[in-house]
Assembly symmetry: C2
């Protein structure tokens, strides 16, 4: 199963991605968690120490290594389980989670992230996953990863939205672009719900089929987000995310079935 | 004065940009408010009806018009007050605020926003502003507008951050990149502060000179963000933003002086 997590900035993409990754890992999945935002934070949210994150080579550097092995000029990448050793070189292992990041922070006024996005798409698209493997892409805020097509080839697009008009507007644009892109399943997750009124507002914006679930705003989670070196957001986070996780497994269809 | 507003997704860039634009307008500045995020929302936050926003031509379309007038192949754009009529064609007028947007939403998997970013940089960089004129750039979330150099040429970089580790981490990266880019003044604004503990956390992360001010989390503002057609966020927003506005005017130096 390949899952991309998108939404307006601040909606809670990274927190959700970290939570889903940990829950899949608990169910004995091999998880590839990919930070597709050059402004890395998925690693921080998963509790990886800063020095370790700073030392991690970005996935884009793998491009040369693959070119060497395949002799390919750069156009097509054939990845399969046999390249696990390549992926491992770029991954930070957290139990059953392999954390990868798309690209490093570049210098000011030097370049865009088009090559990184193109390469990430090629990697994700050509990964042949086993039944108990899942890729989770934590996309950058906004919509450019969609117009660039970075998330093409995912099975499930999860769009996280807060109960605000601007966040819902972005969710709608993402729905439309994901559909144009041919993503088979596109689902909205309401996040940071503080009241019955907010839940009502959000539920009214989408059809029942479109909404996968809603998560309440969690004051304790927020508190913990302030702490350094918390070792990930822990049980509080997982408890919150587990409210939508079963539904995600169900949407995963055959893959989820293999696990039950 | 040219001001760019940046920060991690969800930190409150757009709300702040809208508030600052309105406060400058009240002081009789001519304000150019530019939505530099292809996932437009500054217009919504300023209270522009959806149909009007949907009909607004993006700034990038001006490129051809300028090429026609100047006969330039596309490299250099000479903009000055005499091209006001061009700008006007692309602006939505809200009193003394002219709202511009960088680019329209593209189709999925078709393109990046590199041309839009390059053009926006050229426009902002070549605008010759009078004393009572200000440009406010509401940048996209994250850091790519910095590695692309879109915000090069601004006088003041305002970095909005929430009191969380990941938001502060992003603020630090933006500080570094802005400095590399040669932005003369770089200031951090703490936002969504909910407690003395959160304020303390934030203040500890930066030097006194680095922090321009802190804004408290405003429950009422949040409530209003849920409402459609609220005609902008109104007085509640302005009251909140005015806490840092005087400081922004002061940082603006000569420009602010001309007004007092």
């Amino acid at each position: 199963m390949k899952i991309a997590i998108t939404g307006k900035g601040g909606a809670g993409k990274t927190t959700l991605a970290a939570g889903i990754a940990q829950l899949f890992a608990r169910q004995d999945y091999q998880v590839y968690a990919v930070d597709a935002d050059p402004d890395i934070s998925l690693g921080t949210t998963l509790g990886v120490p800063e020095e370790q994150l700073a030392a991690q080579p970005p996935l884009i550097e793998m491009k040369e290594l693959i070119a060497e092995r395949t002799g390919a000029g750069g156009g097509i990448y054939i990845l399969n389980p046999q390249v696990d050793d390549i992926l491992d070189k770029y991954a930070i292992e957290l139990g059953r989670i392999k954390l990868l990041r798309m690209g490093a922070v570049k210098h000011a006024s030097t370049a865009c992230y088009c090559p990184e996005n193109a390469f990430l798409h090629a990697v994700v698209n050509s990964l042949l996953l086993g039944n108990q493997e899942v890729v989770i892409l934590d996309m950058g805020a906004g919509i450019e990863h969609l117009t660039r097509g970075t998330a093409r080839g995912v099975d499930l697009m999860l769009i996280v939205t807060e109960p605000t008009k601007v966040s819902v507007d972005t969710a709608r644009v993402i729905q439309k672009l994901s559909s144009e892109m041919g993503v088979p399943k596109i689902r909205v997750i309401g996040n940071k719900i503080r009241s019955a009124k907010e839940r009502e507002f959000l539920v009214e914006q989408f059809t029942e089929e479109e909404i996968l679930g809603c998560l309440e705003f969690d004051e304790e989670l927020w508190e913990r987000a302030m702490l350094e070196d918390s070792g990930g957001l822990g049980e509080v986070l997982l408890k919150s995310v587990s409210m939508v996780f079963d539904q995600i497994l169900r949407e995963g269809g055959g893959v989820a079935g293999a696990n039950s």
